[in-house]
Amino acid sequence: MNAPTSRLVLRAALLTLVAIAATFALDPFRNYQLATAAGCFAAVAGLTVLVGLTGQLSLGHAVLMAAGGYGYAIASTAAAEALPGSDALPFLAGLGGAVAVSGVLGLLLGLAAARLRGPYLAGLTLAMVIALPSAANVIPALAGDQGRGAPFFPVPEALSSLIAVEQWHAWLAIAVAAVAVTPLAAMRRGRAGLRMRAVLGDETAARLAAVDPAKVKTGAFTVSSLAAGLGGAVLAVATQSVSPGAYGLGFSLLLVVAAVVGGLGSIGGAAAGSAIIVVLPWLVDSAASALPADLGQRLNGNLAVLLFGAVVIAVTAARPGGIAGLPRRLPRPPFTRNTRTPETEPNQNTER
């Protein structure tokens, strides 16, 4: 492990500890929201690296999350039946299942992505989102519209006097998100990230420099869907269920919103974006429920989407860097650049 990577891992560990400490300041519902946001963060981080660094737009990351969720539910249920009495083993088996299912699906899509340019891949992934409820009805293992249950992971004995179950699930969510996102961050900074930017910048030039665009695109898509799958596993832990309705087109577009608003290509931006897509709809809907019943019912769920749509257009038009691009407008301390790999613009929107 070279010096920048170990520094990055150290920073990730510190951030994880800070996030876990923060759960003590939150009530159970907020902790549940935090767990949801952590799950979304893993998926959005994968998406933002994919879109920002390779320029491939996936509208189907909700399906990859669902794949992870189903993988988690199936593997952990099987493990819980095989080994009754243990709580941690089904959890770990579930994570393994999530990685396996989302990884295979991601690899297949990645092979397709390597051959497709922008709009084709977006259309293919969109078709996948629309076909998810059908797949759930046709494939028996996915258990139709009601979806599958995932085993409940109770608070361990040693902690049970200290924390509530929501807080425990928030811890798990934070830990899994950290495991999913840290490799992405390392990859983004390292050689792999450089190769992705090279392919985005000019495929022919990249090929001349012995970078194989097909391999890079396939790899990027696979890694991205692994992160999304772990995010889906987090949601399966927090809600104890996976159903196609939870991973519809609306949710898939919200993930894109989070990546765009946070700033395409930025991991910190992905964190901010996922917090926004979890908290803002809840805020808007609680405000709307204060309105008269009819109007409130119409606004419920829709006003937040309307706002998100408008914000996405505004961000793309006016501030393509998103939230992550805001601090960059300030002058940078002179010596921070030297420790990084030479950073070409991570975001093709800003190339003007």
Partner: protein, 292 residues
């Protein structure tokens, strides 16, 4: 056998709608080299306009004219509005703006009209004719086939035989040269958008009476299927859109009839994946003249 004939004939009507919507995607692709991911949402806005006009006046035909006009206006507004704000040298910003538009339009409709599915009456009976003992097309399906065929013929004449069509094609294929020759390229691009969204609005309007009812997401599946059709047919090829549209319509109809309704989107997804992997340019595409 009866069943096969019935499924084939309903598949043709379904395919005509698909082909029309796919044609709208082909038009905007040829005019501006973009895939408009907001096409379904924009078309549904126009259908709501038609719904309101028909409810107010009692005339289906006024509603139909209103949908075409609303589609054209919406196409121009979007092309001249939000899409002008982002750089066009790469497809990504335009796609993201289109996704934002989808969210704004669909949630706006849900706020304005409520989330209910509104039943829409067809102008003709949907009861199938009997040919001997075999149920075949309904009057409405026949109307859909004739209208879709007529519109496609008019579009073919427009693009192939008129000066406006020539300018539209020239502006799409060689913008710089066309500008030198006096073609107002931006105006032609806008015209392409207007034609495209009006066509999509017509397709969505024809579809809605055969579905569960009018709601903001009524055309989502139509868009996905039409995208598959456009890709299978080759995004540059109107004839490909027609043939692939009829074929996919029949395929969806057969899968729905013999397997289950749930399997139809999977069949389309499978077809789309297979074509994209084997021939990304589409089955009917001419050889690539430019790589935009």
């Amino acid at each position: 056998m009866d069943r096969l004939v019935f499924l084939l004939s309903t598949g043709l009507a379904r395919g005509a709608v698909l082909a029309l919507f796919a044609l709208s995607l082909v038009i905007v692709w040829r005019a501006a080299r973009v895939i408009n991911f907001a096409q379904a949402a924009m078309a549904i806005v126009a259908v709501y306009v038609a719904f309101a006009l028909t409810a107010a006046s009692g005339s289906y035909w006024l509603g139909l004219a209103g949908a075409l006009a609303a589609g054209a206006v919406l196409g121009a507004l979007v092309e001249r509005g939000p899409l002008k704000l982002v750089p066009r040298d790469t497809p990504l910003p335009g796609m993201i703006v289109a996704i934002g538009l989808v969210m704004v339009l669909q949630s706006g409709l849900a706020i304005a009209f409520g989330p209910d599915h509104r039943p829409v009456r067809a102008p003709f009976s949907q009861r199938p004719f009997l040919l001997g003992d075999i149920p075949v097309l309904s009057a409405y399906a026949l109307f859909v086939l004739l209208l879709a065929g007529g519109v496609m013929a008019v579009l073919a004449l427009l693009f192939g035989r008129t000066s406006l069509g020539l300018q539209l094609r020239a502006a799409a294929f060689a913008p710089e040269t066309s500008r030198l020759l006096g073609v107002r390229v931006p105006r032609m691009v806008t015209a392409g958008w207007m034609l495209s969204v009006a066509t999509a609005a017509l397709a969505a309007l024809l579809l809605v009476p055969t579905e569960l009812g009018l709601n903001p997401h009524a055309a989502d599946l139509l868009f996905v299927n039409a995208f598959a059709v456009a890709v299978v047919g080759g995004l540059d090829s109107p004839l490909g859109a027609l043939i692939a549209g009829l074929a996919v319509g029949v395929l969806v109809s057969l899968v729905t009839g013999y397997v289950s309704a749930a399997a139809a989107p999977l069949a389309v997804l499978g077809l789309l994946t297979a074509v994209l992997l084997v021939r990304p340019g589409g089955l009917f595409a001419a050889k690539e003249a430019r790589s935009a």
